[in-house]
Point group: none
Chain length 416, copies 2
């Protein structure tokens, strides 16, 4: 099955927006065994858009577009598809019901303009939008299926996962399987990791193995191609076994479960709670922990102690430690964690203090140096890490590692 992806929107042609929708969709479709053969981008110009839709219909089995489903005059994808198929745009009851339901759900009045979002090409069916207003559209024309998705990435992704995947599966069945196991590997250098799996790298064909440097960890991915999911898993499992045996606790998590979910599960298993004390990450660890819906069960809160004054007065870090060792030091990282645990009255706490740059580095304490403190019933530890990248990279890496090290602490100390 050949797929063409069409992205609409002048902001893409102007280059102001990087087209991340299309790479995400391509990945998801490839996982399902569909071949994305073409991607096209066109602006909000009716004639050009119609031409791109017509061309796509000539060379693809499935045409998926993103963008132009909103309520404004500039949102013309529905009309353009209709005109390129020589159909009328008609009022669609199901779409109207979806739009009404959205406004009911958020407790707001439906603006008149939103009626446009229910005007679809004749003979279309509707895809539920789990996130925003505009319903998606499916229009079948001869052998070609057109699927119109909204442009905002959150809406597009939600609709794809909840509505498009089931639709494709029901309509076209299985397309064969390409599947991967992906692991997040922590606390090891890339060259050391490569060394440990060099034999797999050398003998790879199916499965294949790949290492990708991410922020705070390395992604290790093994991928197999087979007729069925079971057959793919049969190819992958022996490799997974080898990887687990060689890397042990360096495998912080499987990649599709974030570090914050992994830690959340560990905390829930132990009916434990956690607090944060952040300096260089300045709230990012707290933000990550609460990416997980329901994290209020175990995350109580924390202190962003960006200034030394807040470290001292709110977290109770002794002024003498700050004066003697400096804010970026093992004793201060430990005292910060202990302070957060006490102030927030939790089982565990984690702290970060480091130099995110670009300024502030010295020969002894270079940009990228971060101390991560962890405290709990079994005492307090601290880890020193040297991170690379720009300010944002360093802060993201430090936050990710903070979550990894607390999780490791709980798992290792819990076993004793």
């Amino acid at each position: 099955m050949i797929v063409e992806l069409i992205s609409t929107g002048s902001e893409l042609l102007l280059g102001d927006t990087v087209n991340t929708n299309v790479s995400w969709l391509a990945q998801e479709l490839n996982k399902l065994g569909y071949s994305v053969a073409y991607q096209s981008v066109v602006g909000d110009n009716p004639g050009r858009m119609a031409e791109v839709f017509r061309k796509a219909g000539q060379r693809a089995d499935i045409v998926i577009s993103t963008g132009g489903l909103g309520p404004t005059q500039g949102d013309i994808t529905r009309q353009v598809l209709a005109s390129s198929l020589n159909r009328n745009v008609v009022y669609n009851e199901d779409a109207m019901a979806e739009v009404r339901q959205f406004f009911k759900r958020v407790g707001r009045e439906m603006p008149d303009a939103s009626r446009r979002e229910a005007m679809l090409p004749e003979g279309s069916s509707v895809l539920e939008n789990p996130v925003g207003v505009a319903p998606g559209v499916v229009t079948v024309d001869g052998d070609v299926t057109y699927i119109l998705l909204p442009g905002p990435p959150g809406e597009m992704k939600g609709m794809f996962e909840q509505s498009v995947v089931p639709y494709l599966s029901k309509r076209f069945g299985s397309q064969g399987v390409v599947t991967s196991y992906r692991y997040a590997i922590y606390d090891i250098r890339e060259i050391d990791l490569e060394e440990r799996v060099m034999d797999l790298i050398k003998q790879q064909s199916n499965p294949t193995i790949a290492l990708l440097i991410k922020k705070g960890y390395i992604e290790l991915r093994i991928t197999a191609k087979a007729e069925s999911l079971k057959a793919a898993h049969d190819l992958l499992n022996p490799w997974a076994h080898i990887i687990y045996r060689r890397l042990g606790s360096h495998i912080g998590r499987e990649l599709d479960v974030s570090m914050e979910e992994t830690l959340g599960n560990t905390l829930k298993d132990g009916s434990a709670t956690i607090a944060t004390a952040e300096s260089c990450t300045s709230g990012l660890v707290g933000k990550l922990l609460t990416n997980v819906s329901g994290s209020s069960d175990y995350y109580m809160g924390g202190i962003i102690s960006y200034s030394n004054d807040v470290k001292h007065r709110v977290l109770g870090v002794p002024q003498k430690l700050l004066d003697t060792y400096g804010a970026v030091s093992e004793p201060v990282a430990k005292a910060m964690a202990e302070g957060a645990k006490r102030v927030c009255n939790t089982t565990y706490a984690v702290s970060t203090t480091g130099i995110a740059g670009p300024g502030g580095g010295t020969a002894n304490k270079p940009v990228g140096l971060v101390w991560i403190g962890v405290t709990g019933p079994q005492g307090t530890v601290a880890h020193k890490v040297n991170l690379i990248g720009n300010r944002e990279d360093i802060r993201l890496s430090a936050a990710e590692l903070a979550l990894y090290y607390v999780n490791l602490y709980i798992q290792e100390k819990g076993d004793k």
Copy 2:
């Protein structure tokens, strides 16, 4: 002059690589006054690639491709262009000289495979590659100019700047200038904003006007095309004047300065300091504030009061307020901000408390409801907002708006 950009490479179709080349090229070409009307992506498949080149030649004046100029068997762009124009591929002396010069420059022997990089469509001329091996290719066919650039971003950009820009300028002269003013608009619904500038939308031709929904704000962009930068500004300034008059303080900032920088500048101007008290955003406001290097001058820190216990014990929110109004309420938002100001000893403080979802919403307090509190020397205020999107969207929007509302407070109250 209509331009089509073609990106080749299966990694783009698989979605493993985000296509940043195309947005960069689009921006550069638009700045030079060329209209990028289409972007196409196609894999390393000769038949499909040739079809894409043929289609581009029918609808564009200039076709620029990236990728497939290397020395391997998979690098087929030169051959594909030749075949789509019914020309032969021939050995090109200039290209060979370029390749030889590269290897001489880096002091390495030329591999035999690199001879392929000098096999160009008959009648082509060569663009110097200032970074890598493969020369670029220019092939003129009737009214259409084809330009083949390498895929690696560093090589592509270097070649574009050093070779393509002068070539275009010499061949086609000045295309004038396209320039935009971009604003971030806050605290107004898209349809209300559209209403306020409807006359501009209806009469647009040059300048044009566009609205784009972002997280916590709407981007409003006006774009003009003219013979010179000055002439473009002369077209834009009257519109900018209208927009400022009609939208006033809804214009939170110009888009190329982030909200955290804008607020940082306001705080520095007043030698003021700020603290945060975050519930639903759980550290994100603190993280954003400290995206700015040097933010330690004005950001002291804050409390992530995810639990009611931390709201009460650390921030001093009266238990009675939490019991009577609930955590997501105007009085609690205000008390949180006041608590952070007191605990961190700052001039201003901002708080967030809301329902980020997906769970936890009720009829009275639906998912997306967020209260933002702001306190300072002129008292305490709170803003109620109803945000849409998924959990992440709602939290990003809330954090962005928190920064906007503090900035607004300081500017408005400071004027009194």
